[in-house]
């Protein structure tokens, strides 16, 4: 299983290195989102207040795009069938794709966070750095697992992809809320303090573990026709 995980994650990252779709396409998309938010919301006080929410909102939309790209890659020339025939362990496929997804998402989020700090005039509270890092890792893992799980479900048979946003909405909402609250605490938005944030990181961790384990165990039945 770990061999397949490494193989797939390596392959996905190599494809990204060669095609640079995430770097060249999703990053501008996300940046555009941040700029447009700032632009449309039209008020400094509102902006600083909602900055943490916007970061994670933008991360989530980018997730949708990355997931679609990640599985379109497999579907384009029938590679998914080939993967199935290769007898690759389904759990390994899940973890491999989630790993590559998380790596790409992580890069993106750093950029989004940086943009928010500059564009929205937010500041990190000293004690918030550890909290921010914790939030960042757990939320990224959670999003990557959920994305891979539902992306795998939605790939292939036409008409399924319709389901993706519908299925993901209620599932991702807790991540969005948790990550937003934790980030607010780290940035001291609305007078929140860093200690307010850690329970949310706990929630995010729980979430990532549930979907990581659940996905690894169930991915086989999901992608198999």
């Amino acid at each position: 299983m770990w061999a397949i995980t490494r193989l797939l994650a390596g392959k996905d990252l190599r494809v990204e290195m060669r095609s640079r779709v995430i770097i060249n396409q999703v990053v501008p998309f996300a940046a555009l989102m941040m700029v447009m938010f700032a632009f449309a919301l039209d008020s400094d006080t509102v902006l600083a207040r909602v900055a943490p929410g916007l970061v994670w909102l933008a991360a989530m939309f980018s997730l949708l795009v990355i997931v679609q790209r990640s599985f379109a890659l497999e579907a384009a020339d029938g590679a998914l069938d080939a993967l199935r025939v290769a007898g690759a362990n389904a759990g390994g496929i899940f973890l491999g794709k989630a790993l590559a997804l998380a790596a790409q998402l992580a890069v993106l989020e750093v950029i989004l966070l940086g943009a928010a700090l500059v564009l929205y005039n937010s500041h990190i509270v000293g004690s918030g750095i550890a909290l921010l890092v914790g939030t960042y890792f757990t939320a990224t893992a959670g999003l990557a697992f959920v994305g891979t799980l539902y992306g795998g479900l939605a790939v292939g048979a036409k008409g399924r992809e319709t389901l993706l946003p519908l299925l993901m909405l209620p599932v991702v909402a807790p991540v969005l809320i948790g990550a937003t609250r934790a980030t607010e605490a780290a940035l001291g938005t609305n007078g929140a303090t860093a200690t307010d944030g850690w329970p949310w990181v706990g929630l995010l961790t729980l979430f990532a573990v549930v979907f990581g384990v659940g996905g690894t165990l169930s991915f086989g039945s999901l992608i198999d026709e």
Binding site: L7, A82, L83, R84
Partner: protein, 215 residues
């Protein structure tokens, strides 16, 4: 000796349509079987079924000793399938692709290199992205991925299409060598002269059913 493929009255459905409507087939070890039949008869479906990719609605199927009704996935790592599409990652190079598909069954670097050379993918092409290849060069790459996999059962869907004269001869030699070293080969093709001379037996697929047929 136990047959490599044994299908009895298999029914398989895509959407509402029965792509296989009671197909029975028996293939022994070392055979090279040609599937022929009109467009839409079900040849592709039959090959995919043998690779464990289709759900069996009725009948029984046993491939390489594995009961496909009970567990379709156990057979997969032991067969090699070349479909109508190539299963390549367009953004990766030829060498990347062959290496990746070889690695899924643990082929060594030498085996990968050998497979590429067999299919005439020399150093110049090795580092070219698949998206820049001609149609025939892509097909050659897909075949190299297949060769690197050392399968016990080879399932090939119109493998000659797109290959040039030299590539066709090379492919036939590879398949003959595989069969004589104990692998089994099933080929679906419309190029009856060439595939017919390669095959040890011809089977006709019509309307989702299989009829044996003299050479």
């Amino acid at each position: 000796m136990e047959p490599v493929v044994e299908l009895v009255d298999v029914v398989a459905v895509l959407g509402q349509f029965p792509v296989l409507a009671g197909a029975s087939l028996r293939v022994a070890r070392g055979e090279i079987v040609l599937l022929r039949g009109p467009n839409g008869a079900g040849k592709t479906s039959l090959l995919r079924l043998c690779a464990g990719l289709l759900v069996i609605r009725r009948g029984s199927a046993n491939v390489l000793g594995v009961d496909l009704v009970a567990d379709r996935s156990a057979v997969r790592s032991r067969v090699g399938l070349l479909g109508h599409s190539n299963g390549l990652y367009a953004d990766l190079t030829v060498a990347d692709n062959v290496r990746f598909w070889g690695a899924t069954i643990g082929a060594s670097a030498d085996e990968v290199l050998g497979a590429m050379q067999r299919m005439g993918l020399d150093d110049r092409l090795a580092d070219v992205a698949v998206s820049r290849l001609s149609a025939g060069q892509r097909r050659r790459t897909a075949l190299a991925c297949l060769v690197a996999r050392r399968a016990e059962l080879w399932l090939l869907d119109e493998p000659h299409a797109g290959l040039d004269a030299a590539g066709r001869d090379e492919l036939d030699a590879i398949l003959r060598a595989a069969a004589s070293s104990g692998a089994t080969v099933i080929v679906a093709s419309h190029e009856l002269e060439r595939a017919g001379s390669l095959a040890t037996r011809v089977v006709e697929v019509v309307a989702g059913q299989v009829r044996e047929r003299a050479l």
